[in-house]
Subunit: 252 residues, 4 copies
C-alpha cells in the first residue's frame, strides 16, 4: 500500500547533525512570492538537495523534465551550511489538492523539522492587495508573542487585521501546528497585486529574510527579473493607451 506521504533523504545526506538549523518554506502561493525567494536563495547559495517528498495529496500527474524524463510532482528539501547555522529550504511544485491533505502534509514537514532539530521556521508568501505596489512592504505573522520585536526590528510590518482572511495553506499551518509543537515560526508576506508572478515583491521579502538569517544573497538577478516584468507590464499598459487613443480618433 502506498504511503500517504513518503520522505526520501538522499544517500549523500549522511550526517543529520545540523547546526542550529532553521527551515525556510517557499511553496507555490499568491504571486509565487515565497517560491521565488526560496528558489532564488537555493540557486544563489548553491544549496544541496537532500530530500524529496511525494504524496497522494499532490496532483496526480508527472512533470516532464528537459531530458524527457518524467518525475512525480513533489516537494524538496535543500540544505545550505553557514558558519553559525544551517539553513533548510522546503520548496516544490504544488501544495495539497485537499483540505485534509494540507494539515497532514504540514504536520509531516514539522515532523521532519523536529527530527532535524529545527529551531525556527520562516514561511514565505505573498499578501494580495488587488493593485500594483511600487515598493512592496513585508508583512509578518508569528506563532509566539515574544517573536514580534525581533521581526519588527528587521523592517517587517505587523498590521492589525492583515491579512484579514488569515494565511492559507502550508505557510499558515506551519505557524499554527508549529505552536502546538513549541517550534517558533514566522511568516513573511510580500505585498503583491495577486494577479501576476511578482519578483519585485520577492526582492522585498528576500532582503528581510537575509537580514534575519544573517546571510548575504546578491539580489541583482531577481531585481533584473522584476525590472523586466515591470517593463512588460508598462508595455501592456502603454499598448492599451495607444489602442484606446486610436479608437477615440477613429470615433472622432
Amino acid at each position: 500500500m502506498i504511503e500517504d506521504i513518503s520522505v526520501r533523504f538522499l544517500d549523500s545526506f549522511k550526517d543529520k547533525k545540523l547546526v542550529c538549523p532553521v527551515l525556510v518554506e517557499g511553496l507555490p502561493g499568491i504571486g509565487q512570492v515565497g517560491k521565488l525567494v526560496a528558489e532564488y536563495m537555493i540557486h544563489m547559495l548553491d544549496a544541496e538537495r537532500i530530500a524529496e517528498i511525494h504524496s497522494i495529496y499532490f496532483p496526480p500527474h508527472v512533470i516532464i523534465e528537459e531530458n524527457g524524463v518524467a518525475r512525480l510532482t513533489r516537494n524538496e528539501l535543500y540544505l545550505h551550511h553557514t558558519e553559525h547555522r544551517d539553513i533548510l529550504f522546503l520548496v516544490g511544485d504544488y501544495q495539497s489538492t485537499s483540505n485534509e491533505g494540507h494539515y497532514i502534509l504540514a504536520d509531516q514537514y514539522l515532523e521532519i523539522a523536529s527530527e532535524l532539530g529545527v529551531q525556527r521556521i520562516y514561511t514565505l508568501g505573498g499578501f494580495g492587495v488587488g493593485h500594483f505596489v511600487e515598493e512592496p512592504r513585508v508583512l509578518g505573522a508569528i506563532n509566539r508573542d515574544g517573536l514580534r520585536e525581533e521581526i519588527e526590528a528587521s523592517g517587517v510590518v505587523f498590521q492589525r487585521d492583515e491579512p484579514g482572511g488569515g494565511i492559507v495553506g502550508t505557510a499558515g499551518l506551519l505557524l499554527g501546528l508549529g505552536a502546538l509543537r513549541n517550534i517558533d515560526a514566522v511568516c513573511l508576506m510580500g505585498e503583491t497585486s495577486g494577479y501576476l508572478v511578482d519578483p519585485r515583491s520577492a526582492t522585498s521579502v528576500l532582503a528581510v529574510l537575509c537580514s534575519l538569517l544573517n546571510v548575504k544573497v546578491d539580489p541583482t538577478q531577481l531585481n533584473a527579473r522584476a525590472a523586466e516584468m515591470e517593463r512588460m507590464i508598462e508595455g501592456l499598459i502603454e499598448g492599451e493607451k495607444i489602442q484606446s487613443n486610436e479608437e477615440l480618433s477613429y470615433i472622432g
Copy 2:
C-alpha cells in the same frame, strides 16, 4: 501522524467533576445566530476557557490575532459555574469542510459531553425565512418526544414541517447522534432573514435559553447591536428609496 481531531484541555481545568452540566453549542451558521448568542453569554458571564479543539476537517488556514500571532482555526469549550449546574459552551471559527467531517466532529463533541457527564445539550442556530422579521420567534426541535412540553413552556414554537430542509451541521447532528447515545438535546432556532448577521434574532434565542437554563444575562449590549444593525438597514432602504425617486423624477 496528525490526529483527525485533537482536544486539548487547559491545565487550569483540573477538576473535571462538573455539577449537572449542560452543553450549549453555538458554532457559525445561518445569520450567525447561534454564534452570537453563545459568544455573548461567554462574554457576559465571563466564562472560563477550558479546552481547544483542532481538526483536519476545519479549513486549512490560520487566523491572525491582533498581536500578529497566528493560530489554527479551532473550536473551543468554555465553562460557567452556577449554583445549580455547570454550563459548557462550544464555540469556534468554523464547522467541518467535508460531509464526513461533520459526523466525525459531532461524534467527538458527544464523546467529550459524555466524559464530562453532560445531561442535556442545547444547540443554537438561525432559521432562514428569506425576509426581515421584526419579532423573531424561536423555533425548536428535540431529540426525544418527552422534551417538548418543557421547551414549549419557555415560549419555543414547534411548527410542523419547519425547518423543512432539516437542520444542517453540528446543531442538527448533536440531536441525531445524541439520541443514539441517550443524551437529551434541544435545538433552538431564531427566525432570521438568512442574508445578514442577525443580533435581533439572537436576542430572542438568548431570552429563551436564559429562561431554560435559569441564568440571568443582561441583553442590553446585544439589543444595542441589533438596534444599530436595524438603523443601518433602514439607512440602506431609505437610500434606495431616495435613489429610486430621483430616477423617477429624472425619467419624468
Copy 3:
C-alpha cells in the same frame, strides 16, 4: 470513533431465521420510482420495521418529524412475511454523498443480505427517457445470464444498450457487487421522463414486482396518485396553451 456505517436491528426483530428471503431496494433516484414502489408496498403490506442504518456518507443533517423530533438521515429495513418467503425492503432518505461511500454502503447492504440468507435482490429505479411516457415499460438488468428468461416472462424488457449510461448508485452496485458474492440480483427500471416524481412509472414497476414476488398489492392508491399527477401536468400544459393563444391574439 464513529463507525462509517452503523446498522441497528430493533429489539423486536429477535428471530433472524427468515424463510427464503428476498431483498427489495427502493432508495431515492430518478423519478423517485424505486422509492415510491418500495414505500407503497411497505405501507400496503404493513411491513414491520426491523433495522435502521446510519452513515457518515449520508448528508450531515437531521430531519424534523411531525412531533418536532429530529432524527438522523438514514436508511431502513422493513420485513413482510408471506407464506412462501420473507420480503425485506431497503428504503431511506438518501444515498451516499460520495463516490466511495456508494461502494462502501452497497457492500454493507450485501453483508446484511448475506447474514440474513437473502437469495435474491430486486433493485428498483427509474429509467429517464427525457419525455413523458403514457404507458411506461419496465426495463431490466440482471447480474447473471440465467436470470433473464424468468424476468422477461414477467413482462420486463431487455433492450440492448439501455440504459446506455449504466445504472448509477445502489440499484446498480447491488447487482455488480452482488455478482462477486454470488447473490442473484435483478434491477427493474420504470420508464420515466426524469423530470418529476413519477407514480405512473411506479405502478408499472409495482405490477411486475408483485408478479415476480407472487404477492398481491392493491395499486388503487398509487394509480390515484398517478392520475392526480397527470391532471396537474395537463392543467399546466392547458395553461400554457391558453397563455400562448392569448399572446397570439394580442399580437394579431
Copy 4:
C-alpha cells in the same frame, strides 16, 4: 469491509511464471488514443483475459452488457504470449474519480507488475494539440535517462517542454511511481486534436509500439476506422462550407 481495490486473477491463469513480461497500459484518456491501441492489440492478438480489477475509486455505477447483464466498472489485464516475451495489457472503463485514488490505483498496478516480474512498462496516451493533425507524431517520455536512445530510434519524438502540463493520471504515474520502484517505464503519446476519439493518432502509436515490442499487428481495421472518421469529419466541414456558401448567395 470492502477492499479499496480488489484484483481477481481468473482461474484459467494458473501459471504466473511469465517470460520477460512487459506491461502495456491503455486506459481511457485524451482522444481515447491509448485505449484504442491497447484494445485493438488485444483484439488482433486474441490476448487472454487473466484478471479484473474493481475499486471504490471507480465511478459508482454498473455497465449493462449486450445480454442485459450488469457488471461493475472495472479495469482488466490481458496476456499475450510471444516467443521472446509475454505482453500484459491493462485496459478498462475508467480511471480514478479522485486525486488520491489515482495514486493508490497506480501503485497497485505497479504492485501487480512487480509480482509478475514485469521488466518494462509502456503507457499509452494522446497528446492534445488543439487542432487536427494529418500525420500525428508520437511523443515520448521516459522514467530513466538511459531509455531515451532506444525509444528515439523507433521514431518517437522527445520535444522540450511537451507535454507542458505533464502527463495526468495512470499513464504518468506509472512512470513516476515506477521510477521509485526501479521499474523502467515509457509513455508514448500520439498527437491528437483532443476533441474527438482519434483512431488516426492510435495508428501512429500502434506502429511505434509494435516496433518496440517486436510484434506484428495488422493495422488495416484501425486504418479503416481512421479513414471512416476522417470522411465523417470532412463531411461535416463540407456541409459547413455548403451552408456557408448558401448563406452568402442568399445574402448576395
